[in-house]
Symmetry: C2
């Protein structure tokens, strides 16, 4: 039975898992989670993942949540995208950084600025979070100076984590022209065989709700 990824197109966290599996050639199929109608907080979904979050991967008798854990499982099973043995700490630390300072803030700011009704958007919070997002993008831009990939000489899980929210069209303060190293790196990832945009890789996108 092919692995099932509970996901939705707007979720960069789900995209990290979907992109890693796709590029590693790990067979999977999507199961749509209707996040915007509250499905991730439903009793049925909480029985699958008490954290109330996508993605969830159901793979044989193994149920895995948290994109980082799914990414690590795929790397372990396929032998791909973990980098050289001496780079393991470095790959792991960017996965943690992404979860802590990168995607977590990019995704939240994008949600507040685009997916809340206009009259419900908390303006002070958006300003505050924008500052934190700029600081994270600055760290990423500086790290990518003179590098093709986040770690070592080729793509790793660190690239597929840190890039995830940066392909979305909805504005949250990231523009490629302001961060040229990031922009070129996103093009490099998008040129990998099998790459697809999150809205093409997973079901569900804002136009469904328009």
């Amino acid at each position: 039975m092919v692995a099932k990824l509970y996901c939705f197109g707007e979720s960069g966290n789900a995209y990290k898992a979907a992109l890693t599996m796709t590029l590693a050639g790990y067979a999977w199929e999507p199961v749509f989670v209707d996040f915007f109608r509250g499905e991730a907080r439903s009793p049925e979904f909480l029985a699958l993942n008490e954290m109330g979050e996508a993605p969830v991967l159901v793979d044989g008798d193994r149920t895995i949540t948290q994109s980082g854990v799914i990414q690590l499982m795929v790397a372990e099973k396929t032998g791909k995208f973990m980098g050289a043995p001496e780079d393991r700490d470095e790959v792991l630390r960017w996965l943690f950084w992404d979860n802590h300072k990168g995607s977590s803030q990019f995704g939240t700011l994008r949600f507040l600025m685009n997916f809340l009704p206009e009259d419900k958007r908390p303006q002070e919070t958006i300003q505050w979070l924008s500052g934190r997002v700029r600081a994270a993008l600055k760290t990423l831009e500086a790290h990518l100076a003179g590098r093709d990939w986040m770690v070592g000489d080729g793509p790793t899980l660190a690239d597929f984590a840190c890039c995830a929210y940066l392909y979305y069209p909805e504005p949250f303060g990231f523009a490629r022209e302001d961060y040229p190293n990031i922009g070129q790196w996103l093009d490099r990832i998008a040129a990998l065989p099998g790459w697809q945009h999150p809205y093409d890789m997973m079901p569900g996108n804002p136009s469904d709700r328009a």
Copy 2:
């Protein structure tokens, strides 16, 4: 040469590393980072950790950043606190959850509510983040119902990550009486041989700046 942990008492993230090493019997000594005077953003510190964050562990010729990576290294080297082999995914997913939804938000809210000057505290943001912190605490409280430890039958890295900000006295919306499962679990961790409060384990605390 004993491993050096760049840290400061107020940092729950540094505490995760310090607590894990201490309880695992991994020799370390602290190097104080004067975070509140901007040391973590100084050129010297950025040369050590481009992310501009504590903790950093310098251990022989290995420099490790991100508390989760330090925790995993200690578990690997000492054979302690990783849980049973079949629980590895579960330990990892709580480490990622903690970095994404737990400590990241607990620590940030505590900072805004206590360590910013009173007239600079962003009230709308504090309200917004308080709601997210409550949701995270609810997930933790529910997970700990009927359990002594986050994963399996004994303490693991998952406990030492998720607990880190919950021992601090500065208010950020967490009170043990509102979360009895969490309260009992914090007592259980604090009863482990060698446990110390973060302000006793690491240099630097708010009274230094009073």
